[in-house]
Amino acid sequence: MRILRWVMVVLLLTTLVRAADQAAPAADGRTTFLATDLFLDMGGASLGAYQVEVNAPHSLLVGVEGGALAGFREAPIYDPAALSHGRVIVAAFHVGGASPQGRIRVARLHWQLPAGVDPAEITARLVVATDAAGNMLQPTLRVAPFAGDRP
């Protein structure tokens, strides 16, 4: 019984060390982490729902956060299978209450970039956006590296 317990502890420690080695940025700069913000410029229209596809062919998605304004603060809906991959579809909608207008940060995505990967490779495509009543809109989508805490 005691031997089994020791074996389990060793296995657990080995797993933890391996996970930490993969996730943490290497000291020699082989791996970097980057957060990118998705902005929708709604102009005078209010945002009811959106869906955006993001592609980062040589990077790995490691986290998804929500946006900055009421109705879109929670993390958008995405397929967990997209984690550790380079393609993700994020979407969110807001029912009830006032919908945000103007330039809205709708999501923040966290990426792990291997050495030599240009962050500019991360591109996004607006699949659909609607107002609160479900009418189609054509807001401008912009992807920008996270540049500090600002809405």
């Binding site: 869906q51 809906i77 397929d79 979407a91 909608f93 699949v127 659909v128």
Partner: protein
């Protein structure tokens, strides 16, 4: 193909006229009888056609009124993207009856679980 009469030999033309000659000339009375027999039937169709047209107009007007009245749910066609979940969420929030074919998780009712299911279908990246 029609061949003009003057292309036929005169004897053949005469023979044909003889063959189809009628012994009883049509009189003006016969025309009147035929017309009299036809007119009542034609008159019967006029009110029937008018009634059918009015019924068609009334039905169309009623359907248009129902579709454009404020309380009527607008027709929505599935898109496969987040609009499906958004549509069902809006309908549920408004207390509207949602059609059973939106029961995405097949639990026998349309509720928030179906909204989540539809949203997940919209963002799915795995096969």
């Amino acid at each position: 193909m029609t061949i003009p009469d003057d292309h036929l030999p005169p004897r053949l033309q005469d023979a044909l006229r003889q063959a189809y000659r009628t012994n009883e000339p049509f009189s003006a009375d016969r025309d009147a009888v035929v017309l009299a027999a036809f007119r009542p039937a034609r008159r019967r169709w006029i009110p029937l056609s008018a009634a059918a047209g009015i019924a068609l107009l009334l039905t169309g007007g009623l359907l248009f009124h129902l579709a454009s009245s404020p309380g009527a749910a607008p027709a929505y066609a599935r898109t496969g993207d987040i609009r499906d979940a958004f549509y069902v969420a809006r309908e549920l929030a408004a207390g509207q009856q949602v059609a059973g074919d939106w029961d995405a998780n097949h639990d026998g009712r349309v509720d928030d679980g179906d909204v989540r299911q539809l949203a997940m279908l919209a963002v799915r990246v795995s096969p």
